[in-house]
């Protein structure tokens, strides 16, 4: 839960170095503009959760936990299970994070990641229905940001996806018009793997997977989530600035290409 106060000031010297390097196609940490940091995914780290994933994207560290129970469906979707994605930037994650109710940044983060998961139909919610209109599975994915070093969007997305892919739930059957738990444990019905790719604009260049310092120097950010078929299922432009239509299409192509590569990594880690 936090307010990322906009007072992380990037040093003018560093910003100048950043722009100078980008003109040569390089970044401060040696990456190419379309290169992401090393991704490390560990699943099953919280045994009390139905599923969990700890993701390191460079120094950004994010922990997602899945808790599954049964409950009442929303009135307008009586045949669908509940899926709720929640995110919190913990005060321990950054000197600029404070405890308290979620800031607009944390809420935007949770909603963008949720859209990616929901629109891609990653989880077939109709398979989570027990008794239409009365009882469904409820799946809560809570994300704790543990260390901030840029690109919370992608790290959170990979953690949510990895946690859901490896989550197990108690199977319920319907007996006497009531849901009853069995001893059988089944995986969550996951069909697809949405992958988000975030780019920041520094000067004229678009850089993939910005770290904190690059985010402090950027004037625009765009996140695009693609599914297994290369379709775009969610997108969000951030920061109060403009982007040309050509750049949007350039970003879309980059996220389809890079998304494919990252999807392989996620599939590998969540086998």
């Amino acid at each position: 839960m936090s307010m990322m106060k906009k007072n992380y000031v990037v040093e003018t010297i560093r910003k100048a170095q950043m722009v100078e390097l980008l003109a040569k196609g390089e970044r401060m940490d040696g990456r190419a503009p379309d290169e992401h940091r090393p991704i490390k995914i560990q699943t099953g780290v919280i045994q009390k959760a139905n599923g969990s994933a700890l993701v390191n994207l460079g120094n950004t560290e994010v922990l997602a936990g899945v808790k599954i129970a049964t409950g009442v469906p929303f009135p307008d979707t009586p045949d669908k299970g509940l899926l709720v994605v929640n995110a919190e930037i913990l005060p321990l994650a950054s000197a600029y994070a404070e405890p308290g109710p979620p800031s607009e940044e944390a809420i935007e983060l949770a909603r963008v990641v949720d859209r990616g998961v929901r629109e891609s139909e990653m989880v077939d919610l109709t398979k989570l229905c027990l008794i239409e209109g009365k009882s469904v599975y409820t799946v809560f994915v809570d994300v704790n940001i543990m260390n901030v070093d840029g690109n919370l969007f992608d790290a959170t997305s990979y953690a949510v996806v990895s946690a859901l892919r490896t989550a197990k739930m108690k199977k319920y059957v319907v007996e006497d018009e009531k849901p009853k738990a069995t001893d059988e444990v089944v995986p969550v019905p996951v069909e697809r793997v949405p992958v988000s790719v975030t780019m920041a604009r520094i000067g004229d260049a678009l850089v993939v997977d910005p770290m904190s310092e690059e985010e402090a120097a950027m004037d625009m950010r765009i996140t695009i989530t693609t599914d297994d078929d290369g379709n775009i299922c969610a997108s969000q432009k951030g920061e109060a600035s403009t982007i040309s239509p050509e750049k949007v299409l350039e970003a879309a192509d980059m996220s389809i290409r890079i998304g494919r590569e990252i999807r392989e990594k996620i599939l590998e880690a969540t086998r």
Partner: protein
């Protein structure tokens, strides 16, 4: 030593980060202790920078108000550089534009002019070598390691500077700016990392010397 450990018993003179309890001298920080005839000293291995008058520090301008620049000096308090110290006594907010000297994000070498318990540290840039640092590689290390980086009477920092052909400005607050040839900068950064990670090594000076090699960069 870890906090709570007894360093020695008896009757000694003692320095910071140590508390006397009866005839015991107790460490208050994680650090390395020295016990000698001149007294007991604890060299901390971790901890914040607390401003001391006359310290040279390197800071970053994070805000500007009508009367001066607020500077992040990597401490528990931000420093304040009064505009009158830079523009002189004729300074007035209506006639002088502070951004003509330093803007937000600029790196500035300052001196701690004063630090009273009731307000933020006051900075100045009087003296040779202070003021805006227009370029260089910025490195941060724990302020507790700065004495090791400088060395007794500057021996370590001079050696690094010579062998890498770089100008190395070290702030007491753990901020360092290196200017010089690219290969020299890489070597300086690595030497500083070595000092930070192996502070407790008895032969650290030798290790750093070996790493830097004999001939200065570019010769």
């Amino acid at each position: 030593m870890i906090p709570g450990d007894v360093i020695a018993r008896g009757d000694y003179r003692y320095g910071s980060y140590i508390e006397k309890r009866g005839d015991s001298y107790v460490a208050l920080r994680v650090g390395l202790a020295e016990v000698g005839r001149e007294g007991i000293k604890l060299n901390p291995l971790t901890g914040p920078y607390l401003p001391r008058p006359d310290d040279e520090v390197i800071g970053k301008v994070i805000d500007i108000n009508g009367f001066g620049w607020v500077i992040d000096i990597n401490s528990c308090f931000d420093g304040f550089l009064p505009a009158s110290f830079v523009f002189g006594r004729e300074f007035s907010p209506s006639t002088h534009d502070l951004t003509t000297k330093f803007r937000v994000g600029d790196i500035v070498g300052c001196r701690i002019e004063s630090f009273e318990r009731s307000r933020d540290p006051q900075l100045s840039i009087r003296g040779h070598g202070y003021g805006k640092i227009p370029k260089g590689e910025i490195i941060k290390l724990s302020p507790t390691k700065v004495p090791r980086l400088i060395g007794r009477r500057g021996t370590m920092i001079n050696m690094i500077s010579e062998r890498t052909s770089c100008d190395v400005k070290v702030g007491q607050n753990g901020v360092v700016v290196v200017v010089g040839p690219p290969e020299g900068i890489v070597k300086t950064v690595n030497a500083i990392k070595m000092i930070e990670n192996e502070t407790h090594a008895a032969d650290l000076a030798k290790k750093v010397e070996e790493y830097l090699g004999g001939a200065p960069v570019g010769s």
